[in-house]
Amino acid sequence: MSAVLQLDTVTRIHGAGATEVMALREVSFSAYAGELVAVMGPSGSGKSTLLTLAGGLDGPTSGAVRVEGTDLAALGQKGRAAMRRTSIGYVFQDFNLIPALTAVENVALPRELDGAGSRTARKVALAALEEVGIGELAGRFPDEMSGGQQQRVAIARAIVGERRLILADEPTGALDSETGEDILRLIRARCDAGAAGVLVTHEARHAAWADRVVFLRDGVIVDESGRDRPDALLEQAR
């Protein structure tokens, strides 16, 4: 089984000279289909950098980031944007919905940008909203919804079109504990259905929804807890 996301000896240096900061230092990291991996670490540990690299929003100083086997650097700007619309779903702490669009329009947008007809886009968007339990709110604007509902819309947008990599950056940060848990259940369900998920969080209770928890310190993975993937165990046995 190949990794949906693979970071291969990735280093990311911000700035230069005296102000140079090494945000990630030769990090190798993979997320496989069907698995949710949490990345934990204090501010400045490099966890957000890891996620922006994984999403192709930023490029590594050295090393390679591959999504479903494709090196993002080799794709170019346009190719990466297309990849983000079709393969990568990104969930942000502050939802990042477009205020002038309704829930269903927000979710349909990536499909429409990708060339789907508006009727088709709307249909898959509605299905995604149903999947996250808010089909009846399709016609609402973001400011007519609670934080938890807005985050559900954002998750629908991240999963629409069968995207196989879900990246979530503190997705529960702005929500109360029970609403946050609902959001984690949704991300978890998507991974159980075959997507690979990477969840960046500083909350242990939320990281605990993951199969594996990776600890980052000063741009280096220092430890990992949780179950080994079955094929990782096989590799060790070989």
């Binding site: 900061v21 090494m22 259940r185 242990a204 605990a208 000063d218 741009g219 807890s225 179950r227």
Partner: protein, 246 residues
Amino acid sequence: MTARTLSVGLDARVALAYPVWRAVYIPGIHGHGGVDHGVDDGEESPVSVRNALLALLEQGPRYGYQLRAEFEDRTGGTWPLNVGQVYTTLSRLERDGLVEGQGADADGHVVYVVTASGREEVAAWFGSPVPRTRPPREELAIKLALAVSVPGVEVGAVIQQQRSATMAALQDYTRLKRRAAGDDPHELAWGLVLDSLVFNAEAEIRWLDHCEARLRRAAHDRGASSVDRAGQAGQVEQVDPQEATR
């Protein structure tokens, strides 16, 4: 037993059935926050068990095995009771006039009913907070206190090893929670006990994060003051730039 084998082992048991805690002891989780360990003490039953049995009896007459089964059902088997302890507790409750034995039923079980003062006792229990007593002797806090004060111990490693083990336990609890998501009263009771374990584990990890941050701050300050003493600007560059930006 390492965190990982515990993790795998527990999961296997979960797959079979719960209650699953019977054979599981997770250091630093059980025994927190006033959870009593009196299960095997024999001598005096913990107040929680005594009051829990009384509260169950308030629902109607029951015998010892029934009480044990209901207690474990509602708490997901998190704190297993042995039936001997249940009968010891019942005879003390009877001595104190809080329950009455009704003689044996057709199958020879001695059935107990709650008395009026027993009902008052239950009402008083639900009507008052659980006292926060002297902090329980906490192995992890003691270990860290010694780790920072005994030379040659790598405190960061001690912290990370614990964080990883507690995280593995937290993942196990969360996996159980995902299975126990129902809203009927019994699922809810067990779900709340699980939440208690989850929040305790989370608190421990937050505390470990806090310890680590304080230690790093202290190490950084020590580094900075030795540079000040040396009075050489060149040495400043030895301070990790990551530390400096934090």
